[in-house]
């Protein structure tokens, strides 16, 4: 352990010394550290004085920590170039090979560079923030409370770690420094959005949510580090020379993982033969249909169900999680709307609000099949897209919310005087038996994507693993989840209302 840290630190220290000897890194950093806090102090002073003239003390209170965060953010952005160069820069200069041929482990090299990439910008940020705070005292401006200070310093640290860890992943996967720098926009833009969201939270005074954001960013950063380390391959660092986008390879690989074969399905060839028979016998539509069904059967047996089998553990986790959340939401809602806690009028109003939440306020004719199907499809696609960026974590959250809503809805119906079991059996179960497994499967496939991405793979590159998991997601979605959603929408629109009308008073 001690030796491991010594070797990691050895790599980090060399990088740090190298950075501090490079005036091209040092000069902008020094200028930023000295100039930016001064500028932000000036801005804070002007804004606070201006808002105070009109009694906007609240705005003044929030602008000071907001600018503190901005002061900390800029040095990180500028010094991102160091992290982006960490591997690909060494590769271009030819210094990486002696390092890769040495007995240093992957983690020594990777974590060493991560450490070096984080320490310089973070130190620069903290010095900047310190100068800004000194400026506040100097100008007799309102000083942020201790908890806000800790929050801002922590937020800066997790943001720096997030950006650097992303930059290091890009650096290991890029073929040239130029390509790595171009890819940096994939870091700066999302983090800029994150910063905007954090700014809103600061302005609204939602400090509790900001703590959650810090924890969330830490989790995502941890997963990104794990992703980078899992796919750190000495071979691909030296072997990858061409960075042309090979769309043909991407599509062919995706198709091969999706269908289990490089070839087009047999029925496609048969359709072709049906249209243009050539010298052979002309095929009938029946023969083509038969071939299509045989293809589909083969695909389900060979691809969809085997993929599903690989996800068994994740499915169980989801089922248990879903049940626990439903039950918890049910009891939480019952407790929240406990009659003993409210005056009758208050409670009635609250239940009315809750009922609106449970029962759609749309007139029934508007709840069409396409409305239900596309609404649910949208949710599953959101689970997929957010899942990609959060290693499946967002998909789990959306799934939990769905099950939580069911639990809460059952509690509200009970409080409204209906039997939750009847409501569940008549109003949820008929379409839920298709819809809930569909949401569950999409969530499982999204989580599985994230898990596979952060699982070490000595043979496959990061892009291959991504394409494999993407193909798995498509198999589950097109093979099971979307058809289930289709059936669920039909049932929800044409059967559930009839059952509800018949079973409810």
């Amino acid at each position: 352990m001690k030796t491991d840290f010594h070797l990691t630190w050895l790599v980090a220290r060399r990088e740090l010394v190298d950075q501090l000897r490079d005036w091209r890194i040092l000069m902008p950093m020094v200028v930023l550290i000295l100039f930016f806090p001064f500028l932000m102090n000036f801005t804070a002073f002007q804004v606070v004085n201006f808002t105070n003239q009109y009694g906007g003390d609240l705005v003044a209170d929030q602008i000071v920590p907001l600018l503190l965060m901005v002061v900390g953010f800029f040095p990180v952005t500028v010094s991102l170039i160091v992290a982006l160069e960490a591997f690909v820069g060494e590769k271009e200069r030819g210094t990486i090979e002696p390092l890769l041929s040495s007995p240093l482990g992957d983690s020594h090299i990777y974590v060493g560079k991560l450490l070096a990439g984080t320490l310089v910008p973070l130190t620069a940020s903290y010095v900047s923030m310190g100068l800004y705070l000194i400026g506040l005292v100097w100008q007799s401006m309102p000083f942020p409370p201790l908890d806000v200070l800790i929050q801002m310093f922590l937020l800066t640290a997790v943001q720096a770690m997030l950006m650097v860890s992303l930059a290091i992943v890009i650096s290991t996967q890029s073929t040239t420094v130029k390509a790595a720098n171009l890819l940096a926009s994939f870091i700066v833009l999302p983090v800029a959005f994150l910063l905007q969201a954090e700014s809103s939270l600061i302005f609204w005074g939602k400090n509790d949510v900001l703590w959650l954001a810090i924890v969330g960013i830490m989790v995502i950063t941890g997963l990104i580090v794990r992703l980078g380390l899992s796919h750190f391959q000495r071979e691909s660092l030296l072997g990858r020379e061409i960075d042309l986008l090979n769309l043909k390879w991407v599509l062919l690989t995706l198709w091969t993982y999706y269908s289990g074969s490089e070839q087009a399905p047999a029925f496609v060839k048969k359709i072709w033969l049906m249209i243009r028979p050539g010298d052979g016998e002309k095929l009938s539509a029946g023969q083509v249909l038969k071939a299509g069904l045989a293809d589909l059967r083969g695909w389900y047996a060979g691809e969809v169900f085997s993929t599903l089998k690989r996800m068994t553990a994740s499915i169980w986790i989801y089922v248990i999680l879903g049940l626990l959340v439903s039950v918890a939401a049910y009891y939480y809602t019952l407790d929240l709307l406990d009659p003993a806690k409210f005056l009758p009028a208050e409670r009635e109003k609250l239940l009315e609000e809750a009922a609106k939440f449970v029962i759609s306020d749309k007139p029934l004719p508007e709840i069409t099949f396409s409305f239900v199907f596309f609404n649910n499809l949208r949710v599953e696609l959101i689970m997929f897209f957010l899942g990609i960026f959060t290693f499946g974590v967002a998909a789990v959250l959306i799934f939990i919310i769905n099950f939580g809503v069911i639990g809460a809805a059952m509690a509200v119906t009970q409080l409204l005087g209906f039997s939750p079991l009847t409501i569940f059996m008549a109003g949820v179960f008929p379409h839920g038996v298709f819809e809930l497994p569909s949401v569950l499967l999409v969530g499982v496939a999204s989580l599985y994507m994230g898990v596979r991405m952060v699982t070490p793979s000595s043979r496959d590159s990061i892009s291959e693993v991504f394409l494999q998991t993407l193909a798995d997601w498509f198999k589950i979605a097109f093979g099971l989840a979307f058809p289930l959603l289709f059936i669920a929408a039909l049932v929800e629109v044409y059967i559930t209302p009839i059952l509800l009308y018949n079973f409810l008073p």
Binding site: R14, P98, P103
Partner: protein
């Protein structure tokens, strides 16, 4: 010891190395010759556990390159194609950095650093940043890095490139010393004279495949045929009775001598010399015609071009 069998590396459809079988014993130097892109660097990278073989196996210092990568890397000293120096570090810092990576204790590290800097004539410039060094000095520093941990196996890519003749001589002497101390050494080089001087065995690699492998003498026999001898006389002289020597075939005659091949030089050459002297011919020299590695290599390449090898 370096051993490999059927060592193969494919990058997608490109066959970089195909079925490479090698054996370099302790105290042996193998020169790996081949054109640019022949697969020499890929071979070295597989032997340092950087690239994973597509097929076959290799063992370095008795460690499998796939199973025991860190032990392999600890056993090997590598001089890469590019010197790979951190140009903002001084020679002292650089060697100290790698000495620590190879887990040498402080005392041993300092001893090795000073020995190597002294040997390669870099001691006076040890506190200068390597970015200020000449090409030759950089090459020497890179070589010092490869030797810092006194590895039992050395993989050297163009060890004397960019060096002046004195420095190149120094490096060759060091390689010879390492060889005598039972190291297994592979040299990848285009310098055929150097390969001839240092190597016990030669392997010619072409498009990822080993075309030829053996001692220089074996390769000469294989490609250039029997050795040729040349008799030179002080003037014009008519020699009689050459046709009576069994297994002797005159390949070339000049006014002052001739060249010949012979099946059994140990038996025939003394008799031939005796016969020439008996005829009172003024012999200036009798020697084997030199056949350099360059001739062997070029012959191999010409045979490849004709599709005969």
């Amino acid at each position: 010891m370096i051993e490999s069998e059927d060592l193969t590396k494919h990058f997608d459809n490109f066959k970089a190395v195909e079925g490479l079988t090698l054996k370099v014993k302790p105290g042996e130097v193998l020169a790996l010759l081949g054109q640019n892109g022949a697969g020499k660097t890929t071979t070295v990278r597989m032997l340092t556990s950087i690239l994973r073989p597509t097929r076959g196996w290799a063992r370095v210092n008795n460690y499998d390159v796939v199973e025991k990568p860190s032990q392999v890397r600890a056993s090997v000293g590598v001089l890469t194609e590019m010197h790979g120096l951190y140009t903002r570090m001084t020679a002292l810092e650089y060697l100290d950095f790698f000495g620590q990576i190879y887990r040498l204790d402080e005392a041993r590290r300092q001893k090795r650093i000073h020995e190597l800097l002294e040997y390669f004539g870099l001691a006076e410039d040890a506190k200068r940043r390597s970015g200020e060094y000449s090409k030759g000095m950089r090459q020497k520093l890179a070589l010092a890095r490869a030797l810092i941990h006194e590895p039992p196996v050395l993989l050297l890519d163009e060890p004397t490139s960019a060096m002046d003749p004195e420095s190149a001589q120094l490096v060759r002497q060091e390689i010879a010393r390492l060889k005598s101390s039972q190291r297994s050494i592979i040299i990848c080089t285009h310098n055929l004279v150097e390969a001839e001087m240092l190597a016990d065995k030669i392997a010619v690699i072409y498009h990822g495949r080993i075309l030829l492998q053996g001692t220089l003498e074996e390769l000469r026999w294989q490609l250039l045929g029997k050795p040729e001898y040349e008799v030179r006389l002080a003037g014009k002289w008519k020699l009689n009775g050459l046709e009576h020597f069994e297994g002797l075939r005159v390949t070339q005659t000049t006014e002052t001598g001739f060249r010949y091949e012979v099946d059994n030089p140990q038996l025939t050459n003394p008799r031939l010399l005796q016969s020439i002297i008996q005829q009172n011919a003024p012999v200036v020299s009798v020697e084997q015609v030199s056949r350099s590695l360059e001739q062997v290599y070029l012959k191999a390449m010409s045979l490849v071009a004709k599709g005969e090898l």
